[in-house]
């Protein structure tokens, strides 16, 4: 086996390992997009139910009307879910799709917090969502999600604090406290994502090593057969 042959065969094995790694990664990204698509639709239904149960009606004097929260859940919820669902259907695995989904998921947290009157318990949705986003094994989506939730808390805490904290006069730095806990959570989650991708790569490389071993054994055995060929068969009578 010449050095050129060895290099060509080795490069082909490495290329196959790289292809296997990419295919595995693409499959995870696409299937996670589809998972979030169902979550987006489920959250929409859930938000409408929350609005119907929590605050179905408003009163204008003696006139009973449908509460604005119901319309917010129906229309703003549809707006929040529509782009991620469309992208998950049309462009699964695309980098933009998962960042849009990450942003939309945090905006869903914001909407649910608003619909429940800023209940602190609904803020757990943020942390649950960060955990769900780890399914992508792509740490930058966690940064997108963190930025969106921090900006949401900053702006809404400033112009409409009841909507996010359930009180009218929170400290100005309250959003920083929430952002701190999100940052606390994601630093661990980022490490999990990085390790997970490293393990996927190692798995692909392990396959390449075994393939190289088999290829080397086969090539060496072929050389031996050429050096010491089997005796020729007697000619048929």
């Amino acid at each position: 086996m010449t050095a050129t042959d060895l290099d060509a065969a080795a490069n082909a094995i490495v290329q196959r390992a790289t292809d296997r790694f990419r295919a595995h990664r693409d499959q995870i990204l696409s299937s996670t997009d589809r998972l979030f698509m169902w979550l987006m639709l489920g959250q929409w239904v859930f938000a409408i139910l929350i609005a119907l149960v929590y605050s179905p009606y408003a009163w204008e004097g003696k006139v009973k009307t449908v509460h604005a929260h119901v319309y917010t859940a129906v229309f703003l919820g549809a707006a929040l879910s529509s782009l991620p669902v469309a992208l998950a259907l049309l462009r699964p695995g695309w980098v933009v799709t998962r960042h849009v989904i990450a942003a939309a998921q945090m905006l869903w947290s914001a909407l649910l917090i608003h619909l429940t009157g800023g209940r602190i318990e609904t803020h757990f949705h943020v942390f649950g969502s960060l955990g769900f986003l780890v399914a992508y094994r792509d740490w930058p989506v966690l940064i997108t999600a963190t930025l969106v939730v921090a900006i949401d808390h900053l702006i809404r805490g400033w112009i409409w604090p009841e909507s996010v904290y359930g009180i009218t006069n929170p400290e100005w730095w309250r959003f920083l406290e929430h952002a701190f806990w999100v940052a606390f959570a994601i630093q661990f989650l980022i490490i999990v994502c990085i390790r997970s991708v490293r393990d996927m790569r190692m798995l692909a490389e392990k396959g390449a090593e075994l393939e190289a071993l088999s290829e080397g054994e086969w090539r060496r055995s072929s050389v031996l057969e050429r050096v010491d060929p089997a005796p020729p068969r007697p000619a048929a009578v």
């Binding site: 060895l6 080795a10 490495v14 075994l210 190289a212 080397g216 054994e217």
Partner: protein, 68 residues
């Protein structure tokens, strides 16, 4: 059972002997070997000159890689 994991799989290697150009052998740890670029590991494995060890026991390459 010596040389086996609790699950009975073959023993993983902990040391690898790499052939040098001058005929000598350079020993590296498992993690040092795994940190070599994959293309280099593949070339070395195809060359069939690697020596795998667990402690003092030499393993075949197949034993070593399946147990790793």
């Amino acid at each position: 059972m010596a040389g086996s994991s609790p699950l009975g799989s073959p023993a993983a290697y902990d040391r690898v002997g790499l052939p040098e150009a001058n005929g000598a052998v350079r020993f590296v740890t498992k993690s040092e070997f795994e940190n070599l670029p994959v293309a280099e590991r593949v070339r070395l494995l195809m060359g069939g000159k690697l020596q795998f060890f667990r402690g003092d026991r030499q393993l075949t390459a197949r034993e070593a890689l399946k147990g790793a």
